[in-house]
């Protein structure tokens, strides 16, 4: 069962956060192990497995990027595992320049500016995904998702860098 089906939702790139929460809470009310205290062990084990599967589905679909990657997988677009070499020279160039800029940013404000830029980039790339899926342009979807994944990682690095800068200041 795919994650959308598990939560009783139509498989789609866009998902209303409130409807995802509603579906998840309703099913957890049914399957959460707290509802099976005092029941026979096999029922408890079954509930645990169901609740864990619901958590997995919820977590995957909650974040727009991981939802897009998962949805792409359902459509037959596979991405290399995390940490694998980037095979897109344009993206590599972008990544190297951004890292350089981040390394040279000496103030929290400078880091914030870079982080804001990458967030905007993410927003733009995410909203552009819909039309790529409509055209079923698999190479373009793959390229866009790899870039999104990189931007996401960059945002995380910017956050770490910011924390470091603040710690040095404090």
């Amino acid at each position: 069962m795919d994650h959308f089906a598990r939560l009783g939702l139509p498989a789609a790139l866009d998902l209303e956060p409130a409807s995802l929460d509603r579906a998840y809470f309703a099913l957890q009310r049914q399957w959460h192990p707290d509802r099976f205290v005092g029941r026979p062990p096999e029922e408890r084990a079954k509930a645990s497995t169901e609740a864990a599967a619901l958590n997995d589905a919820y977590r995957t679909l909650k974040d727009p990027l991981s939802r897009a990657v998962y949805f792409a997988g359902l459509k037959g677009v596979e991405l290399p595992g995390d940490g694998k070499t980037i095979d897109d020279p344009d993206l590599l160039m972008e990544a190297m320049e951004a890292r350089e800029a981040l390394h040279e940013a000496k103030t929290a404000e400078a880091v914030d500016t870079l982080a804001a830029e990458s967030r905007q980039g993410m927003q733009a790339a995410l909203s552009g995904l819909g039309s790529l899926f409509l055209r079923d342009d698999k190479p373009a979807i793959r390229k866009a998702l790899l870039r999104l994944r990189y931007l996401d990682k960059f945002a995380e690095e910017a956050r770490a860098r910011r924390t470091n800068l603040e710690r040095v200041k404090a």
Binding site: D21, F25, Q28, R29, Q30, H32, P33, D34, R35, V37, G38, E42, E43, K46, S48, T49, A51, A52, A53, N55, D56, Y58, R59, E78, P80, K84, T85, I86, D87, P89, L92, M96, K138, P139, R142, R159, T163
Partner: protein, 623 residues
């Protein structure tokens, strides 16, 4: 499907709580414990004959025989200090290797377990006793109090634990309950229990933060409350930071003042305990006064000590700053900022300190909620959950795992399998294979926080290297307990292994620290930070070694020499005691190795792109 009957909320067909044994909520605290019961959604703490709800978490094994718990045990502190133990929670699930976290705080004779994997034991009342059995005495006393107050047998309980407790500490807590004859319905995280008590009482909705600073532990959690759902979004903490540290700061100051006055004290276990007790008393007084004073008597020699609130606040400022640091991280983890919070709940006796209230209000930008007694709120929430679990209830608690789970693969690289703040229960599997022909066993290292647990997989059917498909499954249940199981998928040999934590990090000098408790005490915090810096540095050295082993050929001889020199400098710094030097050397090495890292990345790309036809490139899309 007749195996599973699904019932509407509120109609769970369990024997009603009114018949037979009752289920209570227990807050097993570092300094104080509380037992409470809820009836029809109204929780109440259970009091003793004098009307007190708090049971000091102190256990005594008096010379005269028997066991005392609570106030009676505390009264023996002065006369029979060697037979009295307090703050045992700090040692739950702790092994010899992580004693540094409590060195100086607990003035006890500690016997490290016989092996690295064993929990430590204390020599109390002339006998080695484990934290589990000592905690069980507290639970037994709470159970007795509940049975006396309710006039019914009490055999089931919801017990709270710090959200940041790891698997070993949770397991130890559950074991203690078993020893006390209590079935644990659920281990609930303390901040979550507190939110439950607030949420049900006040019908609050929205995003809330819980700042829980107890006697020995700190937790910070973010929750979303919505129509009976308590969804924990993120949590973080420190299981060795709390009010005990503040008492110790005052005690140290008084002992130092005596020394200045030329008193040659023999600072033994009894003296430390007396100074700590006075320190706690003075701290409590400073919650609603600007100054206080105390009389400390050691070996019949008295001394008088004055303390201003401003002085005390300066002494504990670093601890409070650390809690706020953790809180900021938790907010960032959840992608939230302080203004998103509807409110912040204060939990734990240490939040009575005005400085704590002020700083938390400043950070969140709202006055904290304090209308439920911060000492009782956790037990009240636990009682509500105990009622919900036995009588059926409509609330739903969705909690998360506080620590990331990772797998250590060859070369010391840790691969995250369950990131922190993943909703529990969680189950997942990963596949491994053998690397030698005929291999029948393999070891798997699971890392939780800074702890390492080692699992041996035995009985793998002999095959050629790489042919076996070993699926290792990890499960964290609703109690936050970890189970690891494995099976070989081609033959289906399955074996289930309970987690036996072992401690792989080398804290060589930690055991020594225990015995000179007070001298080293003020260095405790510094020591902890130093240890963290060393561990971090060791990790980056391991990563560098792995990279050099693989791609060392990318470096010219002089570059390699420069890297080796940087490496040597870092190792020298790690051997020293300066955290700043270690961090500086680590940073320098990182800068030195940056061109190397970039070259490795370039080479990776060239390898990926070179010598491949377009068709092969396309097929890589599918990898």
């Amino acid at each position: 499907m007749s195996l599973l009957e699904i019932h509407e909320p509120g109609e769970t067909p369990l024997p009603h709580a009114g018949e037979g044994s009752l289920a209570v909520g227990i807050d097993l605290g570092t300094t104080n414990s509380v037992v409470a019961i809820a009836r029809e959604g109204v929780p109440a703490a259970l009091h003793d004959e004098t009307g007190k709800a708090l049971v000091p978490s102190v256990v005594a094994y008096p010379q005269a025989g028997g066991v005392l718990v609570g106030d009676a045990a505390r009264q023996l502190m002065a006369d029979e200090s060697r037979n009295v133990v307090a703050s045992i929670k700090r040692l739950m699930g702790r092994g010899a290797a992580d004693l540094h976290a409590v060195a100086g705080v607990l003035p006890y004779e500690i016997e490290p377990g016989t092996g690295q994997t064993d929990m430590v034991k204390l020599r109390i009342g002339g006998k080695a006793r484990s934290p589990v059995e000592i905690s069980a005495e507290i639970l037994k006393a709470l159970r007795k109090r509940a049975e006396a107050a309710l006039d019914k047998p009490v055999e089931r309980a919801v017990i709270t634990v710090p959200a940041y407790f790891d698997d070993a500490a949770r397991t130890a807590t559950r074991d203690a309950a078993r020893v006390a004859g209590l079935e644990v319905l659920r281990l609930v995280n303390e901040p979550t229990a507190a939110a439950l008590a607030y949420g049900l009482d006040k019908g609050s909705e929205g995003l809330y933060a819980v700042y829980d600073l107890g006697g020995g532990t700190f937790d910070f959690s973010l929750l979303r409350l919505e129509k009976g759902v308590f969804q924990v979004l993120a949590t973080g903490g420190d299981t060795a930071l709390g009010g005990d540290d503040f008492d110790r700061a005052i005690a140290e100051r008084m002992l130092a003042e005596r020394k200045q006055d030329g008193l040659a004290d023999q600072v033994d276990e009894a003296a430390v305990k007396t100074a700590l007790a006075l320190g706690r008393h003075m701290k409590e007084q400073l919650s609603d006064r600007d100054q206080t004073s105390g009389r400390l008597e050691i070996a019949g020699v008295p001394s008088f000590h004055a303390l201003l609130r401003t002085e005390f606040e300066a002494m504990i400022a670093a601890y409070i700053a650390r809690t706020l640091d953790i809180a900021r991280h938790v907010l960032a983890d959840a992608g939230m900022t302080a203004p998103d919070m509807q409110g912040v709940v204060l939990v734990g006796g240490s939040t009575r300190l005005p400085l704590v209230r002020e700083k938390v209000a400043e950070m969140i930008g709202k006055p904290p909620l304090t209308d439920i007694d911060p000492d009782e709120v956790v037990a009240l929430g636990a009682a509500l959950q105990a009622e919900a679990l036995t009588g059926g209830g409509d609330t739903l608690l969705l909690d998360v795992t506080p620590l990331s789970l990772g797998l250590e693969t060859m070369g010391g690289i840790v691969e995250k399998v369950v990131p922190r703040n993943t909703p529990i229960p969680v189950q997942l599997a990963q596949e491994f294979t053998t690397y030698q022909d005929g291999q029948t066993a393999m070891a798997i290292h699971v890392v939780q926080g800074e702890r390492l647990a080692r699992f041996e997989l035995l009985g793998i059917p002999p095959m050629t290297a790489g042919a076996a498909r070993i699926r290792v499954s990890f499960a964290v249940d609703a109690d936050g307990l970890l189970t690891v199981s494995a099976d070989e998928r081609t033959t289906g040999v399955a074996q289930r292994i309970e987690v036996k934590p072992s401690y792989g990090l080398s804290h060589e000098d930690m055991a020594d620290m225990l015995y000179d408790s007070l001298e080293n005490a003020e260095a405790d915090m510094t020591q902890r930070l130093l240890t963290e810096a060393r561990v971090e540095a060791r990790r980056s050295l391991l990563a560098l070694d792995a990279a050099l082993a693989k791609d060392g050929g990318l470096l010219a001889a002089e570059e390699r020499a420069a890297l080796d020199a940087g490496r040597t400098r870092l190792e020298a710094a790690m051997a020293g005691d300066s955290r700043d030097e270690i961090n500086a050397a680590a940073e320098a090495l990182e800068t030195l190795s940056k061109p190397f890292a970039e070259r490795r990345m370039d080479r990776g790309i060239r390898e990926a792109l070179s010598g491949l036809s377009l068709g092969e490139l396309e097929s890589r899309v599918g990898e």
